[in-house]
């Protein structure tokens, strides 16, 4: 059997942290993606410019650099803020900037930019006739979005969301670099202490492989469901 030298429970806790991080980041990314895509497709020039700036900047910077910037920069900002609050109101307000929060914010922001592009493409794939028909029925803008655009857009967006999710899952490993005790961090410490790198990293790699393979199957199933009623192969 696999002997984890007593690091088993810690590794399991780390795996839970990884999964929590991945899902929270995904939720943030999907939200930002929807907002970003709506802004890009809106007639508002300012919203469009902000969304374009966001996606361009995020896709030009390595994820690790952004994470380091948010983590260390976030701490400095919190320190400055707490100093200012102390001087102004004499309230002791201080907290350690958490690697978990920095991780969620960074990964969410990065994949929000990718989701923006995914959703934008998917919204454009919905026929304009559908929207015109909804408007002709007297649907409000919100109703058109919720009842007509969103459900039809989802079918086109799913493959892109799936790809982004797979990349996101692997990006969570980076959060170990800023000190979050996820499973990569635990494995690294164990590997160094026991001088057995293969022994600890290969099980962690296997967990990632199980997660990505499982997601692949789940996404396939979702795609099939979303495409019920669509004639394939035209």
């Amino acid at each position: 059997m696999l002997d984890l030298k007593g690091y088993g429970p810690e590794l399991l806790d780390g795996a839970v942290v990884t999964i929590e991080l991945a899902f929270l980041s995904l939720a943030l990314a999907l939200t930002l993606g929807l907002i970003g895509a709506s802004s890009k497709l809106s007639g508002n020039r300012l919203a469009k410019a902000i969304a374009t700036f966001y996606t361009t900047v995020v896709r030009g910077i390595p994820d690790l650099v952004m994470m380091l910037l948010f983590y260390y920069g976030g701490q400095v900002t919190v320190n400055m803020l707490s100093d200012w609050i102390w001087e102004a109101y004499e309230i002791d307000f201080f907290f350690q900037f958490d690697p978990f929060i920095s991780g969620v914010v960074t990964i969410g922001l990065i994949f929000g930019a990718y989701m923006t592009e995914t959703f934008r493409g998917a919204f454009l794939a919905v026929e304009t006739g559908q929207i015109e028909a909804a408007r002709a029925y007297g649907f409000t803008r919100w109703h058109t979005f919720r009842r007509v655009m969103f459900p039809q857009m989802l079918r086109h967006a799913l493959p892109g969301i799936g790809n982004n999710w797979q990349v996101l899952l692997k990006t969570t490993a980076l959060v170990s670099i800023i000190g979050l005790t996820d499973m990569v961090r635990v494995a690294e410490e164990a590997a160094k202490a026991e001088r057995m790198p293969f022994h600890f990293f290969i099980p962690v790699a296997a967990v990632y492989l199980i997660l990505t393979a499982g997601s692949e199957l789940f996404i396939k199933w979702l795609n099939k469901r979303a495409n019920v009623g669509v004639v394939q192969g035209s």
Partner: protein, 240 residues
């Protein structure tokens, strides 16, 4: 405006000639690491992609397993396994390989090359598989053998279809290379981390390096757009 910049440069304590040189050395390391791993990855990816399209499962299976393993796990873990693992291979410390692999640059290069090769193999495979059947039939009708057909028809036509996805992979590799700094390589990110810890100035250190990465990314995007235009020039409408 130049007055303002000169004044700012005079007053700042961070961006001195020394730190600029540190960033420059980091840039050289990043470019070397990324360029070499991309070249090695591409050279091995072409034959592997051809093997991957083979109908014999004994040929295509191992390649599939390799790409599946390397695309299904984070690059950071691959880097750790290779970086920490090589020293643990029994007897390696007595061979000449140890002279090479004790430097962190080479384990990182090996990890990056293996990773990008896996992704590139799948990109090229996708392009080969989608070759229009008519092109292959025509080549066969001309009496071309397998090798000639690959060289003259399938691979050039696949290259045109792969270049878009490959440009994404190149940019992805540039961004992934930032993790080289965790195995003590002073690449661009490593330089930024050193400068951050020396001055405790996260915004200056990391925003500057982010701008450098952004410039590199835009140069790559521009170069690939040129290449794409060149490769697809036969599709341009007449007269433009």
């Amino acid at each position: 405006m130049p007055d303002f910049i000169a004044q700012w440069l005079d007053q700042n304590e961070i961006f001195t000639a020394m730190t600029i040189m540190e960033y420059w050395n980091g840039l050289v390391n990043t470019v070397q690491l990324v360029f070499l791993s991309l070249v090695i990855g591409l050279v091995f990816a072409i034959p592997l992609a051809i093997l991957r399209t083979s109908k014999n499962p004994l040929v295509s299976g191992p390649v599939w397993l390799y790409t599946y393993l390397f695309r299904g796990t984070p690059l950071l873990i691959q880097l750790y396994i290779i970086y920490y693992g090589i020293a643990q291979i029994p007897g390696i410390q007595e061979t000449f390989w140890w002279e090479i692999f004790r430097e962190p640059f080479y384990p990182a290069l090996l990890a990056f090359a293996l990773n990008t090769c896996a992704y590139t193999t799948e990109i090229i495979r996708g392009a080969i598989v989608s070759t229009p059947a008519g092109e292959i039939e025509a080549a066969k009708a001309y009496g071309m053998n397998w090798w000639l057909r690959m060289r003259r028809i399938v691979l050039p036509s696949a290259a045109r279809r792969a270049v878009q996805a490959y440009s994404n992979e190149v940019i992805f590799m540039l961004h992934s290379s930032a993790i080289a700094s965790v195995v003590t390589i002073v690449d661009l990110t490593g330089a930024a981390r050193n400068i951050y810890s020396r001055f405790y100035a996260p915004f200056d250190a990391f925003i500057f390096v982010a701008l450098l990465y952004m410039a590199l990314t835009f140069i790559l995007v521009f170069a690939f757009r040129k290449l794409e235009n060149h490769l697809l020039r036969h599709q341009r409408p007449v007269g433009s």
